[in-house]
Subunit: 457 residues, 2 copies
């Protein structure tokens, strides 16, 4: 097949869209470690999880056996508003670089939430509605998840309470307004509206908040308000399950043209995008049907995979959530304040953590000025302004494509372009003005944070 | 054909994309009035236009005879990065409204410029490059055109100098940063860098600028700098020609499913989107092959069609540009400062002005709070955050769909969704906070502006 027979954008037909999510856990030989109860340290049961999450989502969280879980028709109908998302052949970029590599990216920014987060938000809102709930609570940092969830709740007429990390609430008023457009209430965290918020404000007056703190507040409100549950946009098994639609579509589009990737690259914060993108490829790899290089890219300033420990840790500052075994920097880890965009979470999805520990995937940490340089290089030829998070994957894809110029290899590189950077122009401005720095934590600093790890074998 | 056979989004295949733009002027019985020279009042010739615009674009500007003009391969390749754009069947909106109407929208916001403006920007940049120019100059108000042009210039390695209306430059720093990301230089207008800018600053110290003033500055720089030409994002015949790709794709997608619209609705500022969207439909109407209702929607605060005069007028404040015969409020017209978003130009495309004068289309003026209410109603079910400009068309489409609930008519309504509102959250915030007003100029005010019309028969 010659290059010209592959279109710039491969769109699946509506009837080629996946009808079930792919549950990679069913095919994993070493299953991800279970969530454990913060009090008893026993594996969380359906009963333990139900006060926090919707019933159906608890089942999905614990389901390590069914490889496919049907996508309800209502969710498939919603998906049709913005899916299938395009798999783009980056012809313009290849030509500009002069590389023999073939570069593809799966673009998830073509919806108003501006990112892949909508894929799970709509599923979680749907199950909340099915259960007859009044509403849901959540936290948001950079704001992509909060935006996606507010859209999903608006669609299903659910109340949506978002705790937004205070520094983002103040620095990103536009994100806040998008959420308000979709009818969500947005509270800066820590707030005086929760016990845990008050406690944190007493202990750290003037704090600008953190994701871990906002999670604690959202969980407190969900568990203390009748008719409410908590929802989360990353890390959890259920979220990776919903995000498998990204990988399924990507693989179907590649299969349609007989394309076999050499590498699949994704950015990794909590792991929602990466876990979804790689799921069907990893499944084939585990079964021995294919041997892809699978690469997680994380910020050098928040290096969970490359410098973290694989251990049970708290998911939130208030330590009200179940504990998860994951690559973590310690729940006390405070991301560099000048780090732009997301990927700031101290931990990593238990599924991905297990796969990484099993040597089935690699991880690369990259400094942020190089990420923004790659973002700009990409934007200028491919016409999409990428989110800083997504640009971590771009950085490594560009590096690999440039290596192919040296070696002459015609590698096929696939990466996930998770979203757009419209709300990140302050970070781009810093980059343009040359005032962006590349803070990397020292070993001593990391050791200090590791001390916050709970003593669980 | 039953409803279910029509997908949520109709995408054309790459090989179904138009290979030529449609030049509606060739089929118009009454041709649009020619541009005339500001000094001699004689029709502008190729020779007159060439110092201002690229050679090939001058030819397109004057071409009233060829119905189809081939799209060069390089432009078609660029189009493939973000086109064909989807024609969306608004099933979710129809269901929410409970209307028997069938609503379709052509979504042009799926590219980083965030609007349809890129369709003409890439064409104009291409011809500038072909002519061996070093760069181009332009003006931008809300910033969509400047963003699109900076992307296009970056792609073809052309220098891009943007004069941005000062009030927008200050209020929309993120738009400015996007342009910088694509390598453009952005100057707030009026500036000290041009003669006309200095003059305006002397006469009106502290002015926050206007589109008419920024046009004058951009034209001055283009005509006084070797290797530069001026480019414009709306009003001109050439721009409507390039934007015909919107209408051609829309009509091809509808034809593919045997759908015949009853109404085609678009927002109108200078007319670039509307002229492009309606072109092939209007062509059929002129030839007597079909009878669509074609509706322009404009803001009540800047009502060129509904309350303007059809007369020769200046295109710019500095009166250095050719004069155009158009529906106009007078070049001295100052749009309400609190009007959100674009559609603030005093005049209207000569092509559309002629069609309107011939009774081939209608126009409706709508107040801005109703526009934002419609925008929010749409966003909550269709998942796209629309630009304020685009929302003018949404407002009228919703009104028509609601009328169908009363009458039971199954009207097929097609409207143009020109772009996204990511950079318009300040306006949305005003709407949420209830501090948006609905200023409409009085008849006395309009009479005062009409006095600025030049005395040309």
């Amino acid at each position: 097949m010659t290059t010209k027979e592959i279109p710039y954008k491969i769109y699946l037909e509506e009837n080629e869209m996946p009808k079930a999510w792919y549950n990679l856990r069913a095919d994993m030989i070493n299953k991800p470690a279970p969530l454990i109860h913060p009090g008893t340290h026993q594996p969380m049961t359906l009963e333990d999880l139900s006060p926090v999450f919707c019933e159906e989502l608890c089942k999905q969280e614990l389901n390590n056996t069914d490889p496919f879980i049907e996508i309800p028709q209502e969710i498939r109908d919603f998906y049709k508003m913005y899916r299938p998302s395009p798999l783009v052949r980056a012809y313009c970029l290849e030509e500009k670089l002069g590389t023999p590599a073939k570069i593809y990216y799966k673009f998830e920014g073509n919806n108003t939430s501006g990112s892949h987060k909508l894929n799970s938000a709509i599923a979680q809102a749907y199950y909340a509605k099915q259960q007859g709930l009044k509403g849901v609570t959540t936290e948001t940092g950079a704001g992509q998840w909060g935006t996606a969830l507010s859209m999903a709740c608006s669609y299903f007429d659910l109340d949506c309470k978002v705790f937004m990390v205070k520094v983002s609430y103040e620095q990103k008023p536009f994100r806040r307004e998008v959420m308000r457009t979709y009818g969500a209430s947005v509270t800066p965290s820590p707030s005086e509206t929760t016990q845990i918020g008050k406690k944190i404000l007493e202990e750290h007056p003037g704090t600008t908040g953190s994701l871990g703190c906002a999670i604690s507040e959202a969980v407190e409100v969900a568990t203390s308000t009748p008719g409410y549950r908590y929802v989360l946009g990353s890390v959890l098994n259920q979220v990776l399950l919903h995000q498998s639609i990204i990988g399924l579509e990507t693989k179907a589009a590649l299969d349609k043209y007989g394309i076999v990737p050499d590498m699949v690259i994704g950015c990794a914060g909590g792991g929602s995008n990466l876990g979804g993108l790689i799921a069907p490829f990893m499944g084939e790899k585990i079964k021995g049907n294919a041997d892809y290089r699978i690469v997680a890219v994380e910020p050098a300033s928040c290096p969970s995979f490359t410098r973290g420990k694989y251990a049970y840790d708290f998911a939130d500052t208030g330590q009200v959530c179940p504990l998860a075994k994951m690559y973590t920097l310690g729940s006390g880890f405070i991301p560099a304040p000048n780090h732009a965009g997301g990927l700031r979470y101290h931990g990593m999805s238990p599924v991905l953590s297990q796969l990484y520990d099993d040597g089935l995937m690699e991880a690369i940490a990259v400094p942020q000025t190089e990420v923004f340089a790659a973002a700009e290089e990409f934007a200028r030829v491919e016409g999409i302004l990428p989110a800083p998070e997504s640009s971590h994957a771009i950085k490594v894809a560009l590096d690999e494509a440039k290596k192919c110029i040296e070696t002459g290899e015609e590698k096929t590189i696939v990466f996930g372009l998770t979203g757009t950077g419209y709300f990140d122009m302050v970070a781009y401005e810093k980059y343009h003005d040359g005032i962006m720095d590349d803070y990397v934590p020292t070993d001593e600093e990391l050791e200090k944070y590791f001390e916050t790890l709970p003593p669980i074998a």
